[in-house]
């Protein structure tokens, strides 16, 4: 047998770029940038006590309205508090509160949706009706109601928004779960005698996982906006605590006195975080759709 | 001159792992008024071959070779040329008529659109013509049907509407892509009968794509069998069924159960059908073939003329007669399928 020489195409040596390729395929370049930005914010928030140059709540009246300088990279506010430190601590509140809202509403909404889709019949009809009613009420209204009962502060706002977000999650997940339940593999599980719990946890949940995560990430963006709005209105974190919404509120007064930095920097923080979360959420939903 | 000539057609489509060959050197021709059956399993490339004739292929595909419809070169044609081809010369019938008829338009709109646009008929004339066309495909109450919506018609009726639309432009060539696969057997019989009648009355040529070798053999003048993007055998239908030249054809004939006889176990072709890009350098069918020799795995067999047809098999001469109606020797052990990684 004659042996032929076969020229193999050159295999490029793995570079950093090619190691990043799987991530680019999953998230796309915008998604990757958004994830990077999110990671930075999370690290800064987690390490704020060590990273922040000053105590965010300590007033230094002599340094009020200081412009950006080596000592205060973003300047100070009306009470002379370091703006950078306040924004860093504010990130803690923004992330913790929005994450709590999303975790609570996702867990409750998913549970309601799966049970409703699996049991079907009048249970599903009842659940859908209740969801429709709740859906008509904006989340902010729930937050206002919660604050009026529990008093102003992050706890009431989180509880109210979590209730407000649950119907969104439940509706989206229920729709997808209904499609899933009609598939033959669920009928096969039913025929075999799998319990309802097993069907929900072992079949429905794994197959809806990517959709639920995508939905949660997208909602995170809206939760951040609602949270900031409520703080801006003075219903969330109370002074002297640090919170972006609160900083914006204070920054509005400062801006009227000609010091726009405070409002601008807080606003920019909110906008960038919301934008990156939404970009990421969109990308994840797209992936979930492609895979379904 | 032939109605349709395809020469050395190669189609590569884009995929995540680079271009993939789906059709790999297909050549065929159809005479005026002739029906050619193109038979193959999934992945054989039969549908893509038919679509390529109309210049319909997925974006980013690489297509090479030559396709001529009555002397008109399809692959080199511009947009206007293709539109003229599709609207006057060549009509296509698809497997699932529901996916190709707009559900919000009435049957009448669907049927008269082509008549008005391509043949320049007025509304009343087109409607009269449409009723006549429906009668031709065995739908007597055409006027009522024209006012109905697609969802009000059964699959069989809708497929007849598709055929009516196809013949409306009085094409010279019909490309029928599994037109009866989604239909019941009795409806299939009627649709095939209608297609046959219309073809002979109007002298239309047809390329009939199907997975059903018996159906093609019974309804087409000649039948070609595709495997892994290549035509492995082509013969007049009658001799193909009685005396297949390629082991794959013979395997297909043998593995299909019959209503006339019962075998305790069917003779099977082991493994699963592969697409062109999955095939090795030798004969694509060799891994599944009971007659394969060393050479079959190494060298791709050329297409050779044989009797009244063509065959691509290294051993076709020794196997002539051996294969006649006879199934491939049953393989020993459990059939092994290779898995595909997406």
């Amino acid at each position: 047998m004659a042996v032929e020489t076969v020229t193999l195409p050159m295999t490029p040596t793995p570079s950093r770029a090619s190691r990043l390729r799987p991530a680019v395929r999953v998230l796309g370049v915008p998604g990757l940038l958004a994830t990077g930005f999110l990671a930075v914010i999370v690290v800064v928030a987690a390490a704020a006590p060590w990273l922040a140059p000053y105590d965010p709540n300590l007033p230094r009246p002599l340094e009020a309205y200081a412009g950006p300088s080596g000592a205060h990279p973003l300047g100070t506010d009306a009470l002379g508090r370091d703006l950078l430190s306040r924004l860093m601590y504010g990130a803690r509140v923004a992330l913790a509160a929005s994450a709590s809202i999303i975790v609570i509403s996702t867990v409750v909404g998913t549970a309601v949706a799966l049970v409703s889709a699996w049991v079907g019949g009048f249970v599903d009809a009842f659940v859908s009706r209740v969801l429709d009613i709740l859906f008509a009420v904006p989340g902010i209204v729930f937050a206002l109601a919660a604050v009026s009962v529990m008093g102003p502060g992050p706890k009431g706002v989180v509880a109210g928004l979590a209730v407000g977000y649950t119907p969104y999650v439940a509706r989206v997940v229920r729709g997808a779960a209904m499609r899933e339940v009609r598939m033959d593999y669920i009928a096969a599980a039913w025929v075999q005698g799998r319990s309802g719990t097993a069907v929900c946890l072992r079949h429905l949940l794994p197959n809806l996982k990517s959709l639920i995560i995508a939905q949660a990430v997208s909602s995170l963006g809206f939760a951040l906006i609602d949270l900031s709005a409520l703080s801006f209105l003075g219903l969330g974190v109370q002074p002297p605590g640090s919170d972006w919404g609160l900083t914006m509120r204070a920054g509005l007064d400062s801006a009227l006195r000609g010091h726009a930095g405070e409002a601008l920097s807080a606003g920019l923080c909110i906008a960038l975080l919301v934008a990156s979360v939404i970009v990421l959420g969109d990308r994840l939903s797209q992936r979930a759709e492609e895979r379904a | 001159m032939s109605m349709l000539t395809i020469e050395d057609l190669v189609v590569r489509v884009r995929s995540q792992d680079g271009p993939r060959t789906i059709v790999d050197g297909v050549s065929l021709d159809i005479e005026r008024g002739e029906a050619l059956g193109l038979v193959g399993e999934s992945g054989s490339g039969k549908s893509i071959t038919a679509r390529t004739v109309l210049g319909l292929f997925p974006a980013g595909s690489q297509v090479s070779g030559r396709i001529e419809v009555d002397g008109f070169s399809v692959l080199g044609a511009d947009r206007r040329g293709l539109t003229a081809l599709r609207s006057r010369r060549v009509a296509m019938i698809f497997q699932d008529p529901r996916a190709h008829i707009n559900p919000v338009h009435r049957i009448g709109d669907f049927l008269t659109e082509a008549l008005r646009r391509h043949l320049g008929m007025d509304r009343a004339g087109a409607a009269r013509r449409a009723v006549g066309l429906l009668a031709d495909v065995g739908i007597p109450d055409g006027e009522r049907r024209l006012r109905q919506y697609p969802h009000e018609l059964s699959g069989g009726l809708l497929q007849r509407v598709m055929i009516a639309a196809a013949i409306a432009i009085e094409p010279d060539l019909i490309l029928a892509d599994e037109p009866t696969t989604a239909l019941d057997v009795t409806t299939q019989s009627e649709v095939m009968a209608i297609l046959g009648e219309l073809r002979t009355q109007r002298g239309m040529a047809m390329l009939f794509i199907t997975h059903d070798l018996e159906l093609a053999a019974a309804t087409c003048d000649r039948t070609a069998v595709m495997y892994a993007g290549r035509i492995v055998e082509r013969q007049p239908s009658k001799s193909l069924a009685q005396q297949p030249l390629h082991p794959y054809t013979s395997g297909l004939l043998g593995s299909r159960p019959s209503i006339e006889t019962v075998a305790h176990r069917l003779p099977v072709i082991p493994g699963r059908p592969v697409a062109a890009f999955e095939a090795g350098e030798g004969c694509a069918f060799a891994p599944r073939c009971g007659f394969a020799l060393d050479r079959c795995h190494r060298e791709r067999p050329p297409v050779e003329h044989r009797l009244e047809g063509e065959v691509a098999c290294h051993r076709h001469e020794e196997l002539t007669g051996v294969l006649a109606g006879e199934p491939i020797a049953a393989p020993t052990g459990a059939p092994v399928e290779r898995s595909v990684d997406v």
């Binding site: 075999q192 005698g193 197959n207 | 019974a218 059908p273 997406v342």
Partner: protein, 268 residues
């Protein structure tokens, strides 16, 4: 008779018509019996009600009226408990038409088969492993397939997994709803042979729902022809194919393509 595994009497299913349309009787007074180890085919075209019969037998659809008895026990039409469903699973299992929809895409093949075994039998880890391997082998798959996900398998292989999953419960009856209709010709023959081998190796009855007379002829001793919800004719398959007594059966047979076949228009 005691060795009857399925007895159906006067089975009826009426679907409410929507948009003011009259109600539709998808299944209208169907009766038949299936003996242990026997193979019965229900043949019909679309809209004949054959699949609805299968779904009612499995409890996936609630009969409007009629009696269903499986393994000597009458099946109530109420919503069964999980326990009851599990018990029924040992009597009768189902193989679906489309192997792309009937397997959970997020589960490995091994998990799918193991779960089906664990639902019916209290077995230890080692026993579970060996039983799974044995089932996969019986349907012509290899041990390595247990590690794969459904998307990594071909259609034929998936249908083998679906059959293994159904056999895991060691049922007395296997209902096959167009189980080979979606497969390529060469794969169809492999699966038909597999079904034939399974019947040779264990005591199991088949209820084979199909539109394909040739496939039915290959696998079933007896055939029941349905049309528009009702039984047209029931006879041993050979007899039905060679000497049909009903016009509709004759038309069905005449429509099957074969050498020398000429398609005919039944209505001019």
């Amino acid at each position: 008779m005691s060795d009857q595994v399925i007895k159906v009497e006067g089975l009826r299913k009426v679907f409410p018509g929507h948009g003011g349309a009259p109600d539709v009787a998808a299944v209208d007074g169907v009766s038949f019996e299936l003996g242990a180890g026997e193979s019965l085919a229900i043949v019909g075209e679309s809209g004949s009600g054959k699949t609805t019969v299968a779904r009612m037998l499995m409890g996936l659809e609630r009969p409007t009226s009629g009696l269903v008895e499986v393994c000597g026990r009458r099946r109530s039409t109420g919503r069964p408990t999980t326990r009851e469903r599990r018990r029924r699973g040992r009597e009768m299992q189902l193989v679906f038409q489309d192997p792309y929809l009937s397997l959970d895409r997020s589960q490995r093949i091994g998990t799918i088969v193991e779960t089906a075994i664990r639902l019916q039998f209290a077995v230890g880890r080692a026993e579970l492993r060996s039983r799974t391997a044995a089932l996969l082998e019986q349907v012509g798959l290899q041990p390595r397939h247990a590690e794969l996900f459904p998307r990594q398998l071909s259609g034929g292989q998936r249908q083998r997994v679906a059959i293994a999953r159904a056999l895991a419960a060691e049922p007395s009856v296997l209902v096959l709803d167009e189980a080979v209709a979606a497969l390529d010709v060469s794969i169809q023959a492999q699966i038909l042979n597999l079904l034939c081998d399974i019947r040779d190796s264990r005591e199991i009855a088949y209820l084979f729902i199909s539109h394909d007379l040739a496939v039915v002829n290959q696998l079933c001793e007896r055939t029941l022809v349905m049309r528009r919800g009702a039984v047209v004719e029931e006879a041993p398959t050979r007899e039905l194919l060679t000497a049909p007594t009903q016009d509709y059966t004759r038309r069905l047979i005449a429509a099957v393509p074969r050498p020398g076949w000429v398609p005919i228009r039944s209505t001019a």
